[in-house]
Symmetry: D2
Subunit: 151 residues, 4 copies
């Protein structure tokens, strides 16, 4: 699927919003791809991102997947809007075991109010990628609310 | 629904496993209720847990919901087993805006292999609770894998 | 949760819309409860509603759950609007084995655009109810589209 | 993804099981593709398959999607096993408006106990396909239960 961004400044707008997500800094995540309808987020392993077996926690996997999908949708939104996650679902199909995770959000359907994204997270181990999560996500576009803190 | 724990030491087993989740310490989450089929997790607000509008990030909300449900299931498992999340789905029904979050995991169906939990997260603002997320989660019991890091 | 219906004629409006759903007649489903934010649908067993083991098919279970949730939301909508399912998720927690199914849709969060419902389906066997499915559903309110066939 | 079927008779096994699903006959659905990890189901429009606006009901869309995914998984199972849906989630991204639906189930991850499928349903209108639903599904393999009615 090929999408066109309505806002020519979509890339800097996405980077600016990502920089406002305190949790991304805390986790150590960075945004590595921003194209119309497609965003990737990269997250190196750290011992403080783990569940009880020492792998990335499913919630951490979901957090970067959620942001990847949210910003994939946001690339297609007008400059004055903002984006919120309505819901998402993830299947954790393999242990998130690796030196880093790559989360990929891809728009499947872009509507005026709602946008649907496909989410995929791969664990990179010894340089080899292996899918560890698949998801589907629903985003809503808010036209009356600018991106950034309220007030 | 009333459940009985097969393992009399379920409570200390859940606390020990929770203590192994590096991400819970990083976020500042604590486990505040451990009963057969029911676990609550508490998370105070911090600026480094936020999304772009300054509220708790949906992924953070989901992370504590996922652990609450996983441990709710784990209370009912035998001592020598471990638990993994197969999948979960969350609806973010209101901004996670408050001085803290409370995630509640409740077992709805306990099977030999699969257990299903209901998830609910409330934001506490000025001392008043308001639901901000509802979820459903599928967990699997692993009998051949002990809880804790591999090896 | 107690809801108030904005439209005093919500009950007849729901019944009229249900009567337009061709699939409900084909399956033999009837609507047995219509209250603000709550709708129940009843479906007697027939051999042509089954999956390969002779129980109700998961899709049939989901069909009446989807309509129960959709109409539970619709009770709270204005008279001139219509309702569409954005997405739903169901966990099939036990075989849908019984002489009939009861699907219950309950509104958990009612918003201006989106409404979230909890779904539950029970199989009634020898007069005893047993939950066979749990679900979560997102509905959207369409203000510019009247209920009924287009044109 | 390319899969190999362990059972050389997977195709006739899938057709035989599909023929036992009473609901498929009632709806008028037929199975049009059976390959390792991939099954398609076709459903011509009828007025008795509709929701209130005259399109295919979301539950009907979900029913054929669920069977397509279930049988996609079942192609990879041993001859003596059977398959059950654990859960699924669908996003209805456009009205299911057309002269027929095509549901495609594709295995994304095949495990010993659990298999994960991607679901897609397209509506064919004036000969042109348009996606109307995307889904994710979890299936479980039952080794102690043969396909077919109990007893």
């Amino acid at each position: 699927m090929a999408f066109t961004a309505a806002d020519p400044d979509f890339e800097s707008r996405v980077h600016a919003s990502f920089a406002r997500q305190g949790i991304m800094r805390l986790l150590g995540a960075s945004i590595t791809r921003v194209e119309p309808g497609a965003v990737d987020i990269d997250l190196p392993f750290r011992a403080d991102l783990t569940q009880q077996h020492g792998y990335f926690h499913a919630g951490v996997t979901s957090t970067i997947a959620d942001s990847a999908g949210g910003y994939a949708a946001y690339t297609l939104f007008p400059a004055t809007s903002s984006v919120l996650t309505v819901e998402f679902k993830v299947n954790l199909v393999a242990p998130a075991d690796g030196e880093r995770l790559i989360a990929r959000g891809r728009v499947k359907k872009h509507g005026r109010t709602l946008t649907i994204c496909e989410l995929e997270v791969a664990a990179v181990k010894d340089g080899r990628e292996r899918a560890c999560a698949y998801g589907l996500q629903t985003l809503i576009r808010l036209d009356a609310v600018a991106d950034g803190p309220p007030g």
